[in-house]
């Protein structure tokens, strides 16, 4: 079978396929959110579902995130397995109470007597001039608060496999998908938004980072778009004889410490790249883990690349300036190698 032509899907189709397969498997799975019915989700995550499963299991909601995410929680407590879509992660503030004080805490506060098998999926990311209220990732905002698994897959393969895992998980999972990696016709056409996706159902674990590229000179930890940029940077660095190891974090909570530490023990250098705000963000957590657990392995100060603590500006010249990208990664690594 290895010779068969690989089945290629866009990110959004991979996600929607996972949802469809789980809806077929389990009558309790249903989806609700804004414009997820006929429209198929603004970022295509529910494309084709209403046609297959009807409006009883694919529910367009009013613009009432507190009510419908809260309703998802209430239904999950009664044995349903809802998938709620928060259209943009940027809207979290109108419903964070339901997400954080309830979805994430009820299992714990009930001493494990109430389980909330639900998925909150949401679109993250910028780079297309959607400005300060529609371009954030807010990775750390979610990952900081215990009680939710928080994942952010980077490839169509992982989008499908991790969505399947998320739906089957008996815990609340925040599933962040990156707009630019959905492979939508109206966005920048990126190669990495299309990839091999087997038709049959499969799972990818929710707690394992992925070593996307092996290398011996420096470890670059990224997530979602930043992983792909790190890969681009790694190719360019290889041309200069620097072999970077690229880790796709995939999961923010729990974070896969072992894979990070193992890599740093090999490369002795660490660059962390994040599309979230810099302070109190993912780059801080990764740096802190290493400074606690592998301090003596480091042969150079850790470098953090992230949004420099400003809201995301609209104008593309400004947005380009604040977003990390391959150039900045290459530069950071080279600087680090020079310093050593």
């Amino acid at each position: 079978m290895e010779t068969a032509k690989k089945r290629m899907l866009t990110g959004n189709k991979a996600m929607a396929e996972a949802i469809a397969q789980e809806m077929e498997n389990d009558q309790n799975v249903f989806v609700l959110g804004e414009d997820i019915g006929k429209y198929g989700g603004i970022f295509g995550s529910t494309q084709g579902l209403i046609e297959k499963f009807g409006p009883e299991r694919v529910l367009d909601t009013p613009i009432s995130e507190t009510a419908f995410i809260g309703a998802a929680i209430g239904s999950a407590a009664e044995g349903m397995r809802p998938i709620a879509e928060l259209m943009f992660v940027d809207f979290f503030g109108v419903c964070m109470d339901q997400i954080y004080n309830h979805m994430a805490k009820i299992p714990y506060m009930s001493g494990g007597n109430v389980r909330l098998p639900m998925v909150l999926m949401t679109a993250v990311g910028g780079g297309y001039s959607d400005a300060a209220q529609h371009s954030q990732t807010l990775y750390a905002t979610f990952a900081h608060m215990p009680g939710m698994k928080v994942v952010a897959p980077s490839t169509p393969y992982d989008l499908k496999g991790m969505m399947t895992s998320a739906i089957r998980d008996d815990n609340p999972v925040v599933f962040m998908f990156h707009k630019s990696l959905q492979g939508l016709g109206w966005m920048d056409q990126l190669d990495y938004a299309v990839g091999h996706v087997p038709e049959e159902s499969y799972t990818v674990p929710l707690d394992k980072a992925n070593v996307m590229r092996e290398g011996k000179d420096v470890t670059i930890v990224g997530i979602q778009m930043m992983t792909h940029y790190a890969m681009e940077a790694a190719e360019r660095l290889a041309a200069d004889g620097i072999e970077a190891e690229v880790i796709d974090l995939r999961s923010l909570a729990p974070i896969d410490k072992d894979t990070i530490i193992k890599s740093v023990k090999k490369t002795h250098r660490l660059v962390v790249v994040d599309e979230d705000y810099r302070s109190y963000g993912m780059t801080a957590e990764v740096a802190a883990i290493v400074s606690e657990e592998a301090l003596y392995e480091l042969e150079a100060p850790i470098k953090r690349l992230a949004i420099p603590d400003v809201p995301i500006p609209y104008s593309h010249v400004l947005e380009d300036f604040v977003l990390p990208g391959p150039d900045k990664i290459v530069e950071a690594v080279k600087q680090m190698m020079d310093e050593a």
Binding site: E56, M80, M109
Partner: protein
């Protein structure tokens, strides 16, 4: 218009309600005591067998009893930060509930939740400390009931202060739109902590807000158990028959402070004695004695039974062990 003659409420139901109300009252009275332990001569909220905030429902029994008499364990109830009366009337395991409030391993949440966070999935009861946040959960339960093709209903209890939170509006619109078996009971005890209703609510009562969603509204005056019974019966029937949501507002009485330790400087010293004079439990007892011809002995039997149950629950709680400290790390996720 003529006054429709209402069918009388059966003695059984009234007796059940009376027993619940007595049980609730006695439970709360005991809690006043338990809560005070370790907090005198100097009040320190963190001390004693029952630390933390404590919101008691003394005086608010009719709302819980008058609604719960129509529900079974398949119907869902969500309650707010002042949840004991609802929990008791819904049939929450009283021992485990009390143990939870005492922070014990044998509690509903193994000591992790406490008085504001009681979860008993056996009788579909939950509550929480965030104002109005339980309404969406009830919407979700109602949705699940509908999806499962069951005639189970979901009831969200809130205070009159909570009706001004966004979650109220979003939830009622959603439930009305989807014609869900949801009932929202607004317990108007005149205050949200210290803020009187006139300083929080732009209309007289929240049943008036029913028209903003095209749902039914009902108002129960004077904390009247029987009027609450009737309004609830209609609402529950409506919900079970697929005729959509209802908002019930009941005028009720908060005999105690917002929480234990509340100096209550914001209300008149005469207010509570006035309310206590109209004690709904005394009223129902009188009605049972007068109209239903229940003897003093029968009434006392009910009272004794209710108190015994409560005493046993407190004893169970006190006798139970505290959780092991390391247990704090469990139950975040299930595997």
């Amino acid at each position: 218009m003529f006054e429709e003659k209402q069918p009388a409420v059966s003695v059984d139901k009234l007796t059940w309600m009376y027993e619940q109300m007595v049980k609730i009252r006695y439970y709360e009275d005991q809690m006043v005591e338990a809560y005070t332990e370790g907090k005198s001569p100097v009040f320190n909220i963190g001390e004693g067998p029952v630390p933390g905030e404590m919101h008691l429902a003394t005086g608010q029994e009719p709302a819980a009893a008058g609604m719960m008499v129509h529900l079974t364990k398949d119907d869902t109830v969500t309650a707010p930060h002042r949840p004991h009366h609802h929990a008791i009337a819904k049939g929450v395991d009283l021992k485990k509930m009390t143990a939870e409030i005492f922070g014990k391993e044998s509690g509903l949440g193994k000591g992790k939740g406490g008085h504001m966070h009681l979860f008993d999935p056996e009788v579909k009861f939950s509550c929480g400390g965030i104002v109005a946040a339980g309404i969406p959960h009830a919407v979700g339960a109602a949705m699940a009931n509908k999806m499962k093709g069951k005639d189970w209903v979901a009831v969200a209890f809130i205070g009159e202060g909570a009706a001004n939170a966004g979650a109220f509006h979003e939830s009622l619109n959603l439930a009305a739109l989807w014609n869900l078996p949801l009932i929202v009971v607004v317990e108007d005890n005149s205050y949200g902590i210290s803020v009187p209703k006139t300083a929080s609510t732009s209309v007289e009562s929240n049943d008036l807000r029913a028209s903003a969603y095209g749902v039914a509204g009902a108002y129960v005056k004077d904390n009247d158990p029987i009027a609450m019974y009737k309004a609830s019966e209609e609402a529950v029937n409506r919900a079970r028959n697929g005729q959509g949501p209802t908002i019930i507002e009941i005028q009720t009485y908060r005999f105690l402070g917002h929480f234990q330790g509340d100096p209550e400087l914001y209300r008149d010293k005469d207010e509570v004695p006035g309310l206590r004079a109209r004690d709904p439990i005394m009223k129902l007892r009188q009605q049972l004695a007068d109209a239903e011809k229940m003897s003093e002995q029968e009434l006392e039997e009910i009272e004794t039974r209710a108190k015994k149950e409560v005493d046993e629950a407190y004893q169970f709680a006190r006798d139970s062990d505290y959780p092991k400290p390391e247990a704090a790390l469990n139950d975040v996720f299930t595997s």
